[in-house]
Subunit: 376 residues, 2 copies
């Protein structure tokens, strides 16, 4: 005699994978923090946004495109894709445009990670990548930082040992702002195990010293590079990222991506931003000055700032993670939004984004009291 | 003696599911067709876009938001979500904002469909929904149209028989423009089997007769309603959709969605569009006039037009699917972009979107020759 299957309840039956996922989210946004606090931040320096703003040409292009927003965006992002290919000296077939690096990372994980598949990253590296890996049932294998930098050799060794499908590295690194020179990345690439793809997240590459980005054969099937208009180009809210990779991997995105997912207004803004390299260069100069200012503010407070190849600076609060967390909370209580690394010993730092003078003035004003309160 | 596993090739190892997915895409966009033809369309009447355009207030809001595009959008779309809840008389917890209905459908399928799970829809209904079902390994069970309308009773019966996780219906329907009254939808909802969610795609609801949308308890766990700013509000290129559903199902999206995926500019545009209900009403009046014009153009050519509760009209070409396909191609050769249903007998029609007079003039001019060429 067989037992009848129990009748399900009315409503959704989630997949087993979804049922087991936590309800936690990768980041609480600044607006949500402002609503909780009942007041706006004086300085928005926590999300590594680019407060120097996008090119006026990009702003104008978006404003002009708004009236045409009744049309879906081009599903191939043809003009932007071709411009990016020309910019990077590769073929359009090496480029996929997507809804920010976050969206592209989600699709990349979906392409290769089935439940139980392993993915290697650094402990304390990009939480949204980890969120996607968990979201598709992947098993995350974490390698510690080494001297406040990601450890390419250890990552590769772990990828080989774990038979990983993906190995992630950001260069320059978030959240520590460190970077490796091009040969280190090339050596890492040469050692990527068969069946594994190296995810080279270059979101911050425009801020790094010239020559940091290695010359990589765009048809190399072992690597996919992630780039974005969110950081150097100042268009985080437009949601435009792109990936550079071998044509086979790039084409695979077409099997699963949301083909009409790109905002038409954003496509226009990104294209105009790409064509204003002078603005990008001026932005990078402003960012370099802001980095120096943040370092000076840290020094005025007796704190060390880690070297930065990005648009943010990790400030060593001189204690453990608990102290740095208190500093972060005391800054938030003074309407200064920053974030911090999550894993020891990097969690001794707070992470401060570069921004215009007025915001750094607010930071400079608030930090002494915040430090005193955190210590007391 | 065990055999050693073969060494994988360098590069990605796709999941079994992805390896088996076809390379085909749901739609070829009009820009891609224009590039292939080497000339622009005279009339863009194929994607059910709203050529009457968004509210000037939405355009102004997007233009104003462009300068602030250096900031990520609010990950909760708080202001828009709350405005939508007020608009619909439900709680914010009943609303999730996403990157168009396409993006929301993808996430909904991901929440409940594991490989082999069954999903019921109508043969010839929305291809992008089917694309997502296939993309997560779901098994699509199709029910024929009945009298050029979706068949609620047959859909429910099939969902019960197949133990389906989702049953999809669009009301009004795409691609046939037919609609059911509210009681038919309520009767369908009452019969949804346990463990199944009814996906009520109301993308075109603003164009339907008053009272078409049924009053549904927003906390009912058996249904999720899909709405969009792409059609009535004329913001297809902004990529803003939303779903209305029970708080548990709405909250589940937070486990998997791209939290910072919304364009900040689009959030601003949608909010302004929602607050200009007069523009929406004026648009619907323009659409009604355009529907009548399309019906008249059909009649002038001896063709019948099906009744429409949407911003498009299905024109019966008076033959089989092959004839209608030839009409579509002959129209494209005359720079008129339309689409058509894919499944017999609905495929005897072409589907023409409403648009401004100039575009319908171009259609009226081209259709006689296109018909003659298609018949000859």
């Amino acid at each position: 005699m067989t037992q009848a299957a129990p009748t399900p309840a009315p409503g959704p039956r989630y997949t087993r994978l979804v049922a087991e996922l936590p309800a936690s989210v990768p980041f609480v946004g600044p607006e949500a923090q402002e609503r909780a606090a009942g007041r706006p931040f004086r300085a928005r320096l926590g999300a590594n946004e680019n407060g120097f703003g996008p090119s006026p040409r990009a702003i104008a292009a978006m404003a002009e495109a708004a009236a045409g927003a009744w049309m879906y965006g081009d599903s191939l992002s043809h003009d932007l894709r071709n411009a990016l290919a020309a910019h990077h000296g590769c073929a359009p077939e090496n480029v996929i445009v997507g809804e920010g690096i976050d969206g592209l990372l989600g699709n990349l994980v979906r392409l290769v990670v089935a439940p139980g598949d392993r993915v290697v990253t650094s402990a304390g590296a990009y939480p949204t990548f980890n969120y996607h890996v968990a979201g598709f049932g992947g098993e995350l294998v974490c390698v510690p930082y080494r001297g406040d930098a990601e450890d390419p050799q250890a990552l590769i060794a772990r990828a080989a040992a774990a038979d990983a499908k993906l190995v992630y590295i950001s260069n320059p690194d978030n959240p520590m702002a460190s970077h490796h020179g091009p040969q280190v990345i090339l050596d890492m690439l040469a050692a990527v195990p068969p069946g594994c793809v190296m995810v080279l997240d270059e979101a911050y590459i425009e801020f790094a010293p010239d020559g940091t980005a290695p010359a990589i054969d765009p048809d190399d099937p072992r690597v996919i590079r992630m780039r974005t208009f969110s950081k150097g180009y100042g268009l985080a809210g437009a949601r435009v990222g792109y990936a550079l990779g071998a044509p086979g991997l790039i084409a695979a995105f077409d099997k699963i991506r949301n083909h009409f997912g790109m905002s038409r207004v954003s496509q226009a803004g990104a294209l105009a931003a790409l064509h204003d390299q002078d603005w990008l260069a001026a932005t990078c100069a402003k960012v370099a000055r802001a980095r120096a200012r943040i370092e000076a503010i840290a020094a005025e407070n007796g704190l060390g700032a880690l070297p930065s190849a990005t648009n943010f600076v990790a400030i060593d609060c001189g204690g453990d993670g608990a102290l740095a967390t208190r500093v972060l909370h005391e800054l938030a209580a003074r309407a200064i939004f920053v974030r911090k690394p999550s894993v020891a010993p990097q969690d001794r730092c707070i992470r401060v984004s570069c921004g215009p003078d007025a915001e750094l003035d607010a930071l400079a004003e608030a930090l002494p009291d915040a430090l005193a309160a955190a210590r007391g």
